[in-house]
Amino acid sequence: MKFDRRLLFNFDWSFLLIVLVICAIGLLNMYSAGFNVLSAKAGSFYIRQSLWFLIGLVFMGLGFSLDYRDVIRYAYVVYGVSIVLLVAVFFAGEVTRGTQRWLALGGFTFQPSELMKLTIVLVMTRYFTVHEREGKYGFKDLAAPFLLVLVPFMLILKQPDLGTALILLILFVSIILFIGVQWKTIFITAAAGTLLMPFSWFFLKDYQKERLLTFIDPQGDPLGSGYHILQSIIAVGSGGFFGKGFLKGTQSQLRFLPEHQTDFIFSVFAEEWGFIGSLVLMILFLALVVWGLRIAKQSRDLVGTLLAYGITMLIFWEVLINIGMVVGFLPVVGIPLPFMSYGGSSMVVLMAGMGLLMSISMRRFILQP
């Protein structure tokens, strides 16, 4: 591939800055979340997370160096690899707290379901650009892509990991609504969904039912399953306007917050940095999402538009669901907060996604027909 100097000229520095600022906040917050009050030492979490961030930077570089159209050409290959990894989780996955989500790969663990989130965006982009049509899509047109989503959806649901499985479905719905679905199809699906909703209760695991009930009435059992959400709300609220200060969040430092390094990382941040800090972080996420949508909009081809849109929606939904859960708006489902939650898979995959967004952004003027 010949290097075009215009690529450097069009490089999206603003977008990179937003991503790096969020990552920096994430690492700072991870230092606090992993801090051990009893020994007054920083834990190893932020060191490992920094390492993942560096690896993520490499993948991001890879993402913007590659022409996203070339990446999309291999979408089915990536999909195949992702499915194989998901199946492998069933046979060789590590079991943690009743779920089987991780693959051990030479000293570190990898979560294929995180990869699947990006893969779904890639494969949907590929599918809908190849099968592009002038009008809106109906049932028949959507059967094949639905099947492409259904397979990993079921595999992930079996782990069980309701949150990630739902993200796949939400991404699918976001993408098809974007490219246009016939009203008839929307209505029939919505009606069928509403009718089938009560039955889905029986397919939920006990802990998932419990989480839903807790969401409806968190005070019902404050020390049982309501404990997480109550402690999280206390953490966020006790931060007040200005926050308790770095390393001074008692809810997280004294471990009243559950899962404070992963799903509830925002509580740690909100407790220590208060409303001001939370507002800044929300504005950064909003800027990231709006910038992503702008990249999608400015793309000169459908591949770029769909890919940028899909990746941006992934960020958007994860932020919305994770923080919605932490502040008690949504039931507890295991979805990480992008660039903030501890976890290498999510970090690397999302950084690669950011790289792809930048790839689309910097190639918007040099697209060759």
């Binding site: 650009t129 004294l254 409303f275 507002l279 709006v290 793309s299 538009t305």
Partner: protein
């Protein structure tokens, strides 16, 4: 490949222009909802949730104040404190209380201890207030918990000082007991002195002087992490121990009185007539105040509260009895004081007295013959006093009785004292609507009928006679001292009234009382000591309403609850009285045979103790 390129070239981004416009709005608005929620939690409810997070992390390890010590008149400790160990769990510090309780039970293993598992809703709402699992555990059990503390998150051991009543039942009614503060007390507690679970005095001195004895609880404010592990101490407030109380009670005399009453139902009170200091006060049967230390068990409480002998009642101040013949000093005082008789006035006792159609019998059926006042007191001739009563009239009798302090509570510093009853014509009319019958005065003149007195009142009246006419407020407390010995409150001598009776008249009555114990024919011979120094009066109080039915039946063959109460009141030495004793033995028959021997033991003990102390003081002086 070329096909794709072709498609890209036909791409029309305008197709999505509207979609992106909507999307920007959707994204911005949904994120604004999150920000609005943060505003609500962090700014509107911020303070409340900040408070909750503080409750999470700060645990107050309360250290209870040590209650003040109570000493007797010689400075000997009669109530002290001892440590007791409680095991509690902080439910908020653990995910599942049941798991920890199971672990605790596993630690105790073979001991087969069972702990509370269920948590009430109210306890759940305050998950960081420790719940008591076991109270008063032994040293060995405590050691087990300490060694396994790593496996027992949220389990804490509290050292609680508890009361130790050295005399047990012996001093139960004077000292009272302590128990958990009641709901009513908490509601009425405007000053915020009490917290649920605090222990306060429930009766006796413990209740009367609770504010002095209680002290102030301290505590350690510690920061803990989620599993209940201490991170650091934030603040420490030392408890302030309660103040010490010195009573007027003589523990040795109390013991002697208690032992003399063993197996009997009733009370003994001993008092110094010179200043009204109570030296002993026993009510039998009694309860063990130590039982209440850690919360009394339901069985024990049922046993105490359903006992027909009423062990919880302080019979010395709450038992109301007909005064019987001990009341004759009032009748004599009234007749002398009003100038209706002289000591030489005589009446003939034929064994009975007639008023209208009624016949009033003397206890001596064959009669005492012709008697003057002195002999009538010595032999307790009923007919003589019937005559006096008829002369004096009920209202004058009541006036003198009240002058001696009868009919109203004495004002002793103990809760729930009863006042007894001294009837008048007006009282009867008000109470029953019936006019006074002359025959009723005759009964009153020997302390029967409507008359009722508490043993303490009766003793106080005799003390007034003994000291020449001063009615004191009985003193139970000498002073309250701070730990450093500084006197916080002195409970000095308090005079309530002076009996309007000349010294000569009193001396006549006193001489009669001396005769009771020392002259031939006296009913109080049990008190005849070699020193010939005791003056006293017997009394046999009929249980109201049973007079007719059990006429002429020997006391010991009657059902127990209808037998007469035996009374005896005395003081010594007769010239300069320094001790007075009143004894009431319920349903025991005659005062002379049932109550006087108890009084004798107390009087003997008093002089023995006095001699021992004088010897000790002399010994100390000679050493110097």
């Amino acid at each position: 490949m070329s096909e794709n390129r072709h498609k890209f070239s036909r791409y029309d981004s305008a197709k999505f222009r509207n979609t992106f416009g909507i999307l920007i709005w959707v994204v911005t608005i949904s994120m604004s909802f999150l920000v609005a929620r943060m505003w609500y939690l962090q700014v509107i409810k911020g303070n409340e949730l900040r408070h909750q997070s503080e409750n999470n992390r700060i645990r107050i390890h309360e250290s209870k104040a040590i209650r003040g010590i109570i000493k007797d008149m010689w400075g000997d400790v009669i109530v002290e404190n001892q440590p007791s160990f409680d095991i509690s769990i902080v439910p908020g510090a653990v995910r599942n209380v049941g798991d920890v309780v199971s672990a605790l039970e596993a630690v105790y293993g073979s001991r087969g201890m069972e702990f509370k598992r269920d948590i009430s809703a109210s306890e759940k709402s305050r998950p960081f207030i420790p719940l008591k699992l076991a109270k008063n555990v032994s040293w060995q059990e405590l050691a087990l918990v300490e060694t396994h503390s790593l496996n027992l998150p949220g389990v804490v051991v509290d050292v609680v000082p508890v009361r130790k009543y050295l005399g047990g039942e012996m001093t139960a009614h004077i000292l009272g007991y302590v128990g958990e503060v009641s709901q009513e007390d908490l509601r009425g507690d405007k000053a915020g002195l009490f917290k649920p679970g605090d222990r306060v005095g429930k009766s006796g001195i413990e209740k009367y002087l609770d504010s002095y004895l209680r002290g102030e609880n301290g505590g350690e404010y510690i920061e803990v992490n989620a599993i209940g592990r201490k991170v650091k101490t934030l603040k420490k407030v030392d408890p302030v121990p309660g103040n010490n109380v010195i009573l007027t009670i003589d523990a040795g005399l109390q013991k002697a009185a208690w032992e003399a009453m063993q197996g009997k139902t009733g009370s003994v009170v001993a008092m110094d007539p010179r200043d009204g200091s109570v030296r002993a006060m026993v009510s039998s049967p009694a309860f063990d105040p130590n039982l209440f230390n850690k919360g009394i068990s339901i069985e024990d409480w049922k046993k105490l509260s359903s006992d027909p002998l009423r062990p919880m009642e302080n019979k010395a101040i709450q038992g109301q009895y007909p005064a019987g013949s001990t009341y004759k000093i009032i009748t004599a005082a009234a007749a002398l004081g009003e100038g209706l008789i002289t000591p030489e006035t005589t009446f003939n006792c034929s064994g009975s007295f007639h008023l209208g159609n009624h016949e009033f019998k003397c206890w001596q059926k064959k009669g005492h013959g012709r008697m003057n006042l002195h002999r009538a007191i010595v032999q307790s001739c009923d007919v003589y006093f019937y005559n006096l009563g008829k002369l004096v009239g009920v209202d004058k009798l009541a006036e003198y009785a009240r002058a001696f302090g009868l009919g109203v509570p004495t004002g002793i510093t103990l809760p729930s004292e009863k006042g007894g009853l001294i009837p008048t014509k007006e009282w009867k009319l008000k109470r029953t609507g019936q006019p006074w019958q002359p025959g009723e005065t005759i009964s009153i003149s020997i302390g029967q009928g409507f008359v009722s007195v508490t043993p303490l009142q009766l003793l106080n009246a005799y003390c007034a006679l003994a000291n020449g006419g001063t009615v004191h407020v009985p003193r139970l407390i000498q002073r309250v001292e701070a730990l450093d010995g500084q006197v916080l409150q002195e409970f000095g001598l308090q005079i309530r009234a002076v009996v309007p009776l000349s010294k000569e008249c009193m001396d006549i009555i006193k001489k009669g009382l001396w005769g009771v114990c020392n002259e031939s024919g006296g009913t109080g011979w049990a008190l005849r000591r070699p020193e010939a120094d005791v003056a006293g009066k017997t009394g046999t109080a009929q249980v109201i309403g049973q007079r007719g039915r059990w006429e002429g039946v020997k006391s010991y063959s009657m059902p127990w609850k209808w037998r007469d109460h035996a009374l005896f009141v005395c003081f010594a030495p007769v010239q300069n009285p320094e001790i007075a004793v009143a004894v009431v033995v319920e349903h025991a028959g005659h005062g002379g045979s049932a109550a006087a021997p108890v009084a004798r033991k107390v009087i003997d003990a008093y002089f023995r103790i006095k001699a021992a102390h004088q010897k000790k003081i002399k010994g100390e002086k000679s050493e110097v």
